[in-house]
Symmetry: C2
Subunit: 496 residues, 2 copies
């Protein structure tokens, strides 16, 4: 019997065999007669929170249904929501606040049954769209491809269920051109095959700029947003909907002309970020070789307004977006628009960023020597500070390299109790972790907890150890203090 493990509690749920959930859906909707129905497709790091935001819409009471698949990876999220537990942890108190309010109102429900789309006034598409990468052992990107199969089948499940006057709002990051060349034809074909009109539905694209972390909710509700529609009428419908959930008193809605424009804007935005990170990666290596401090240089340069986006070094690229969005763009350019050129700067960024943790490992060995039979403690496995998101975390590769070097490891993270990708438990008691002997402590995520004086004191109490700060978390003062007892290296800081 297939089971799905709750990523927060490790509780095991049996995945239902009978996938007809109509009765529960209709029971939910009976309690919300007269309310517009929003169905959010995909309950991941964006969809789950988007569903929460819709259930707490600013100026309208919605009945909100989250839909995901009855799979090992996703089913527990559905069950968890319906059992009254939000399926992700983040350092944003609003997550609990919004979820509790939705529970009180009872206007958030989750299901695996695509029949839910039938009842929707608005369907928000927040599913994944993955890039398949083929890389060398050193993580140099060799080839990549975009597999639209899962995406197409998700759109098809909408088209084969939805009302003919639905608004479909795609929020998924897609190769530019996807709404026009993929979504539109599929929905129209499905509507036609059911004998429905194809002129009444509305299709739009708008990308969230959600940022898992302490301002998770506000990064959706209070952040400028770009949107478009496949027609003027569609764009108007998107605008009306977004105005009910986005706080337009503090942030702007910007309409672009075509769905291709907003799709391209999204991947452009993330490619820019990925490129800035890859730039820091390369200069960080150079600074280490030349024995100079890249942090001091970056500080001196960032005073220029034209250079304020210059980034600090680190091993920090991870997450679901920056590691693939530039590739979606380049793929689209060649596949949808027939160009024979790729977006070299953007594609190279991904490759260079993928190599970051390997560079970080090499530097580690160079500074601290061989790791065989050493005990290595990692502080943080998430890819980003103050959130439990381990998707594409660079820490994974660094952990692998350290294990390959025959060290033993212990892993700590206040936001991750079970590391899904590596299928292992993570320590949550920082004191215990720091009290146990380590040959090397690697600061590998920027969680606020690690910056506290208490942690520095704990590190000072440790027996002589090595400390490797891969993200520049330690301040110059903290480094001086710790250097009295330990050997320290900070990525990109040259010789300390």
């Amino acid at each position: 019997m297939p089971v799905s493990v709750n990523g927060l509690t490790q509780e095991k749920y049996q995945i239902p065999v009978n996938l007809d959930d109509t009765a529960s859906i209709e029971q939910f909707l009976r309690q919300h007669k007269g309310k517009k129905v929003i169905v959010v497709q995909g309950l991941g790091f964006v969809g789950a929170v988007m569903a929460l935001v819709c259930a707490n819409a600013k100026s309208e009471e919605y009945a909100v249904i989250g839909v995901d698949l009855a799979t090992e990876e996703a089913y527990w999220k559905i069950k968890s929501i319906n059992d009254g537990m939000f399926p992700l942890i983040a350092d944003d108190p609003k997550i609990a606040e919004f979820f509790n309010r939705a529970k009180e109102k009872g206007n958030l429900f989750a299901t695996y049954d695509p029949v839910a789309f039938k009842y929707a006034d608005v369907i928000v598409v927040d599913i994944n769209l993955d890039v398949e990468k083929r890389s060398s052992e050193d993580a140099i990107l060799k080839e990549f491809d975009v597999n639209l199969k899962g995406f197409k089948s998700a759109i098809k499940s909408i088209g084969s269920n939805c009302r003919e006057d639905v608004l479909v709002l795609v929020e998924t990051t897609v190769p530019p051109g996807t709404c026009e060349k993929i979504v539109k034809p599929i929905i129209e074909e499905e509507l036609s095959s059911r004998g429905l009109e194809i002129g009444n539905y509305r299709l739009g694209h708008s990308y969230e700029r959600v940022m898992p972390g302490p301002e998770y909710i506000d990064s959706i509700r209070e952040f400028p947003r770009v949107y478009s529609g496949s027609s003027e009428v569609s764009a108007d419908a998107v605008e009306v909907f977004l105005e009910t959930i986005i706080d337009t008193s503090v942030c702007d809605l910007t309409r672009l002309e075509h769905t291709s424009d907003t799709e391209m804007a999204k991947v452009l935005e993330n490619s820019y970020r990925a490129m800035n990170i890859s730039f820091a990666v390369e200069w960080s290596r150079f600074a280490e070789e030349a024995g100079v401090d890249l942090y001091a240089m970056v500080n001196a340069i960032r005073v220029r307004k034209t250079h304020s986006n210059l980034m600090y070094p680190g091993i920090g690229v991870g997450g679901y977006c920056l590691t693939k969005d530039p590739l979606l763009a380049s793929w689209s350019r060649k596949t949808f628009f027939g160009s024979d050129s790729d977006l070299k700067m953007s594609v190279n960024s991904v490759s260079i960023n993928d190599q970051m943790p390997i560079f970080a490992f090499n530097r580690l060995v160079q500074v601290f020597g061989d790791l065989k039979d050493k005990k290595v403690t990692f502080l943080g496995v998430s890819y980003r500070g103050d959130v439990g998101d381990t998707r594409c975390t660079p820490v994974e590769t660094l952990v692998d390299k350290v294990l390959e070097a025959e060290a033993t490891i212990q892993l700590h993270d206040p936001f991750v109790s079970f590391w899904e990708e590596k299928k292992c438990d993570i320590e949550s008691d920082l004191d215990a972790v720091l009290e146990s002997r380590s040959d090397l402590v690697i600061i590998s995520a920027g969680h606020s907890e690690y910056k506290s004086p208490k942690v520095i004191l704990k590190l000072l109490e440790m027996e002589s150890t090595n400390i490797y700060d891969t993200i520049g978390l330690l301040s110059t003062e903290q480094i001086s203090l710790l250097q009295e007892k330990h050997k320290i290296s900070v990525l990109g800081r040259g010789d300390l």
Copy 2:
């Protein structure tokens, strides 16, 4: 008899054969007894203005001598300064103001005789350091090398003349490591060979962020500056000097630890800029292929503070710095620090930017068709708005491509009367240029004059013509207006 042509007046000067200028130098210095002597080596776009700034120092009266070579390219600048004409034109009224004040005070003199270094308290090095590039016909960068010969010989001419207690301040953009590995040994060898102490001279590096244009002078005097010394004492000496010429009430001086740090910061800063431009180049091509408007996207994205450095498309990279500084960095990494990796993101930027005008030409042909026997008018040949700087201007390649396509051309620029690199005269009468018939008007530089309503009216009065805006100078309203009569294309704006 070798001559040097005045780039502003086309007047021809005979280059002196007797290069002993001691008498004139000593005569100049007799008039400024008791004043500290600053010698600026190099009278190019930085050195000439730096000399002007020193001659108008904030808190000290200096006697300033500019030194350049008695060559065809440089001699006219020396002569021009001594004849009372500043050797460059820019839209900054302070240039004239400062030069007139220096003339009144008589404290700025120029010479070709390196004996001048003998009298210097401070020597500021503002000479060129070039990169030799080898590229394909399509401007794809194949190989490059840094030739230090000229730079070394310039430093040698300082070392073989200077006092043993001089402060040598290198402002030239150099491969990181140059002060330590090149300048220091040469000066010490020269001092030793003259039987002088090598422990008394001071060596520093500080990079200007000079920006030719309407705020030319202020970009030196009122802009944050980074500096370093080869020792604490040297760094202190640099600080004392800089405080007399930089207005530290409005901008900071930041000291970095080693000369390698500031050298690296400079090329890092410019590489970042070059990279941002190359990113815009690639996405501009993509936007054109997809028929969407990159300007609208960039506007929508730049609202994010983390994305505010995202640049607009254009053919605009040029000038002496961004086209080579990333290569200096990569060269240093391999040559001075023994790395086997180059700075791929930075090197690629240069190559992509070098290809910009070729992309622009291809787009031109795609939109407007064959140019054979057409008449093409270029508005602007400078690489930057409101300044007469044609060094490495991308317009040069575009002009070449248009000529290759067998069109006839006319060139206008309010800031360039003679195009040194192409050895041709440039029209200055904009009315006449716009009144003559053209099949195609290319807006190729962002001079303020071209943005005026008067010019738009003139363009509207023209017979039906094509307008190609390569730098996004035209506003949406101006485009609408002009479209009533002309066919228009703007690089990166997709289909209009």
